[in-house]
Structures are given as structure tokens and as C-alpha cells.
Symmetry: C2
Subunit: 323 residues, 2 copies
């Protein structure tokens, strides 16, 4: 466990500082309720809508906290990351707001729409081959050349403190919750949720929701150590990445359980939410509702928060249209 | 103009009473903003999201006001209407909440999903042939037999006073506006908007947005009397109906102008809103943004409210997927 002792574990004071720091650059997203969903699940649900967040996802919280916390002497060199998802968009957005350079290493096979969105926020894309080895080599080169600060998508205390502001707002706006359910991929959102609630609402049980097809966090949780899958396949494409030491710290200490949902259950929950709540959200965001629907006993009669993590989908290719 | 003198024209006191009456049965829907949309239009836009409303549309305001304002001796006979759209859903919802009968006359050709939704709220469907003559004959029979109170989808002072609560909330939550743009079909929402704002914010200019393919309100406005089209074809299917005497009263007295948008402009504005604001809304709801985008000079630098009227769409048949 030597590695764990070397990393800085953010505390609640970091969360409060993050919230003050990022407030001008993020939306205070609304908390929606639905009597239909309450009747369906038997629970009282509070949906924190980060799909309405800047850049379309909660990731802008952590990215903004890292960018706006950078000391002045680091500004000229800017920030860098590797991601083809919401973290790339979010870091580009935040860097753009602070007018500092942002470089994103992305596989050349990433969708053009994602690349265009990163560039739209002012991000600079360096392409790599679609393999881990190429990505790491290219990224190392970028950092060596630019001296940019690496902002990891989740295994970074600044990022986790930023994501932690989401459950803080939910707690304030919805009132104390019996439970909260958030998706788990690398564990950044869940870690932030653990960080906040273990401090301000230790009785709230924290559940992580994971696709059965990418259940590495579930298996890690049961085994008591990190297990990483090589290339899981799930429609919830934000949830394919593995836990790392910092997120494992929070998951192993504060998560009540990890619940799984099949691809069909995820798509059904996504469709139902679009249809009844009229919100556009990503497949990843549907995993919590899918797990609540198949574990009703666990949540019946309880006040339950759900994090809708993002809304960046391709509207021309919706999963219920797949033939 | 003899007809106009016989009808009761609701006043602002009716709006305040309606708001108190319906509050327990409706959502206070959020007002969303989008820096992307502000940059795109050059205006500061405030989107009042009635797509998140109970039954998925603003129509529940007027329907609830009619249903919960019914005197006790009318309750047993219930309410009735003819509609295959959001008013049918809304009246069924409101009647269900008050546990009184609700009969809806619908063409037998109406989509099964719509019929199922009406029945889901407890409404009783009587089918007619898909013609005006059959609808009127069947509806007259229903009312004669049941003695039910007819709640017209828009040409009813109770309904207009109910719809008027929407712009009241928007005015309070967003602050005073320079202009407001709402879709126009039969004119219920626009009339309610005129009723509220002419009383509490007479400097706010009220624009109605209409599909070019169903421009009967536009032509009525220019001609100075009601012109009704027979069977206009537009993707904005909530906006096909003509003005009536009561809504004409408000439109002719208080509307600044009626702006038109083509089918393509409506679909483009709808897609853009889904993509950037992550909300599911009907084609009708996209007409205001479409008209703002083609009349930028009119709104540049102004604080502009937009009513997103509803979110009831068939997710399996989205217009940008049409081949």
C-alpha cells in the first residue's frame, strides 16, 4: 500500500474551496422529480441533472477546479490530458475560460463530432493510434515538449474535489437523502460523492451503478483490490475505464455496494427517462435508474438521489433505433 | 362583433386565482439558459420548460384550472373534450387528480400511444371518424348523454387563465423581459401570455411564432379578422388549429407581431435545442427559436423569454431521421 500513502487524498475543505473556485464557470444544475418514476420504483427520487451542465457533463466541475487552481507560473504551459470523452470537452472548456493552452491526445479513430467539439472549445488535438501503448507514448511526448500540467480524467485530487461539489449541491437542494446512486467507471464521480457525503451526511448510503458488461469495479469491490479489464464493451461508453489508486481509496472505504445492469436494462431505463422526464441523457446516466428498478426492495420508501452524469449523445444514432 | 360581447374575457384576478388553484397539481417548471444559444442569437434567452410539466405540456395548467374550478354539483357529470393531443392528456390527468369522469372524443385513427396515455391517466375515450362533422356529432352526443362540462382546448376563459400562469412564473423567475416568444396554434398560450404581461409587464413585447405551413394566425393578424385553414400540414402538429373569438381578442389587442418559420427551420431549431440544451421537446416548441434565429435584429441585445410548450414526441420517429 506504499502507493496510497504517497498520494494526496482531498478533504472536505478542498471541496468547499473547489465550489467557490468553479462557481462562476458552471451551472447550478436543477434537481428534477417525477411522480411517474416515484410510483414505478416505490422510492422518492431526486435527479441531479448534470446533463444540463456546461460542456454537457459533470466532468466540467473537476476540470474547472484543476484549471482555475493552477498557479500563475504554470499558466503559460497550460494543461493536457488523454480522453476521447467528456473530460476532453470539459478540460478544453475550462482552459478556454482561463485562456490557457489545452492539449488533448485522442485516438485518430475518435468520432469527428467529438474532435470538432473539443476544437470548438479551443482545445488542441494531437492524434494517436487507437492503442494504449501509442496513447501513452504520444502523451508522454506532448507533456515533455509543452511542460503542460497533466489533468487525469479521474485519478487526481483536484478532479475528485471538483466532482464532489455535485453531491454537495444535491444534498443542499433536495435535503438529506437516505441513499444516492451514481454511475461508476474510473470512479471520479463516486469518489467525489463519498468525499462530500462521508463528511456532511454520513448516514446516506452510497451505491455505485455499473454495466454488467464492464463490471471491473464490482469485481474489484468484491475481491478487495483493483481488477482492471482490458477492453470491456458496453453502450455506457463513459464507464469502460478502470479504478485507480485514489478512486479505489474512496470506493473501498465508503461505497455501500456496487449494483449491476445489463445492456438491455440500461437502454430501457434510458428510453423511459427520455420519454417520461423529457431529458436527453447518455447511456451511462441511465445505469443508476436501471439498477434501482431491479433492486426495488433496497430503495422502497427511501429518499434517493440519482446523478444524471451527462447528455452528450449522437442524436442520429439512438440505441433504441439499432436494428 | 356581437359574439365577442357575449363571451367572458378573463382578467388578471382570474390568473392569480388560477395559480393558487392549480399549484398543488402542476410543477413549477425550471427556466433554463444557454450561453451557446445566447451567442448564436445575440439575445439573452430564458427558456421556460413546460416540456417538464405534468402530462408533458403547459396544457395541464388550463385543464387543471377548469377541473378544479368546477362547482361541487358538476363533479358527478365530469368533463369532456375533443382533442387528440396534449389537451386530451392534460384534461385526463386533471380529472384523475380530482377523481371525476373525463371523456375524450378522438378520431379512431389517432396513434395508439396517445390513446394509451389518455387511458393511463384515467380518461375515457369515445372514437369518431377522422372528420370534423363526425367529431362534432359524436361529441354532441357525449355531452347530451353525460351532461359533462365541455372544456375547450383553448377557447375557454378558464383555460386561458390557466395558461396565463406560465408567463407569470417566467416573469417572476427570469425577471422583466423585453420580449417573449411563444408558439401559436389556437392561441391559448399566447392569449394567456397577453393576459398576464399586459397587466404586470406592459412593456414586454409579445411575439407569436407560427409554422409557415399553417400560417392562418399570421394571415388573420394581417387581415384583421379570423381566417381558418382547413387542413394545414406541418410537423408542429399542436399548431394546426385555428384562432377562435376569445383567443382572437387577445391576439388582436396585445400581440406585437406573428413570425413564421419553415418546416426545415423548425426541425433544425429542434435538433439544435436537443443537442445543446439536452431537452426533449416537441416540434411546436422549436418554432420560437426558429423565428428568433431568422429575425436576429429584432431580438439582439434583448432579454427574451421562450415558452417550450411541451415534450410529447415519439422517440422512435424523430424528424431528423426521416429519409
Amino acid at each position: 500500500m506504499a502507493g496510497v500513502e504517497e498520494i494526496y487524498i482531498p478533504d472536505y475543505d478542498d471541496v468547499l474551496k473547489a465550489h467557490e473556485r468553479i462557481k462562476p464557470y458552471i451551472h447550478r444544475t436543477p434537481v428534477l422529480t417525477s411522480s411517474f418514476m416515484n410510483e414505478l420504483t416505490g422510492a422518492e427520487l431526486f435527479f441531479k441533472c448534470e446533463n444540463f451542465q456546461k460542456a454537457g457533463a459533470f466532468k466540467v466541475r473537476g476540470a474547472s477546479n484543476a484549471v482555475f487552481g493552477l498557479p500563475d507560473d504554470m499558466l503559460a504551459k497550460g494543461v493536457a490530458t488523454h480522453s476521447s470523452g467528456n473530460h476532453a470537452l470539459s478540460l478544453s472548456y475550462a482552459a478556454g475560460r482561463r485562456s490557457i493552452p489545452c492539449t488533448v491526445v485522442m485516438p485518430k479513430t475518435a468520432p469527428e463530432a467529438k474532435k470538432a467539439a473539443v476544437r470548438g472549445y479551443g482545445g488542441n488535438i494531437v492524434e494517436c493510434e487507437p492503442s494504449t501503448s501509442s496513447r501513452e507514448a504520444v502523451f508522454a511526448e506532448v507533456v515533455a515538449e509543452s511542460g503542460a500540467d497533466f489533468v487525469h480524467p479521474y485519478n487526481d485530487p483536484r478532479v475528485i474535489a471538483g466532482q464532489a461539489t455535485c453531491s454537495l449541491e444535491l444534498h443542499v437542494d433536495a435535503g438529506p437523502l437516505d441513499a444516492i446512486v451514481a454511475p461508476i467507471g474510473g470512479g471520479g464521480m463516486i469518489s467525489g460523492t463519498c468525499l462530500t457525503l462521508s463528511n456532511i451526511s454520513p448516514d446516506t448510503k452510497i451505491y455505485a451503478a455499473e454495466p454488467k458488461n464492464a463490471d471491473d469495479a464490482y469485481r474489484s469491490f468484491k475481491a478487495g483490490h483493483i481488477i482492471a479489464d482490458d477492453a470491456p464493451q458496453t453502450i455506457a461508453d463513459g464507464l469502460k475505464v478502470p479504478l485507480k489508486d485514489l478512486t479505489w481509496h474512496f470506493v473501498s472505504h465508503h461505497v455501500e455496494d456496487i449494483l449491476l445492469a445489463s445492456e438491455k436494462e440500461i437502454i430501457d431505463a434510458m428510453y423511459l427517462t427520455w420519454q417520461r422526464m423529457k431529458i436527453v441523457m447518455e447511456p451511462s446516466s441511465a445505469v443508476p435508474l436501471a439498477t434501482i428498478l431491479k433492486n426495488k426492495d433496497l430503495f422502497a420508501g427511501k429518499r434517493v438521489g440519482i446523478i444524471i452524469t451527462g447528455g452528450n449523445v449522437d442524436l442520429a444514432k439512438l440505441p433504441w433505433m439499432a436494428s
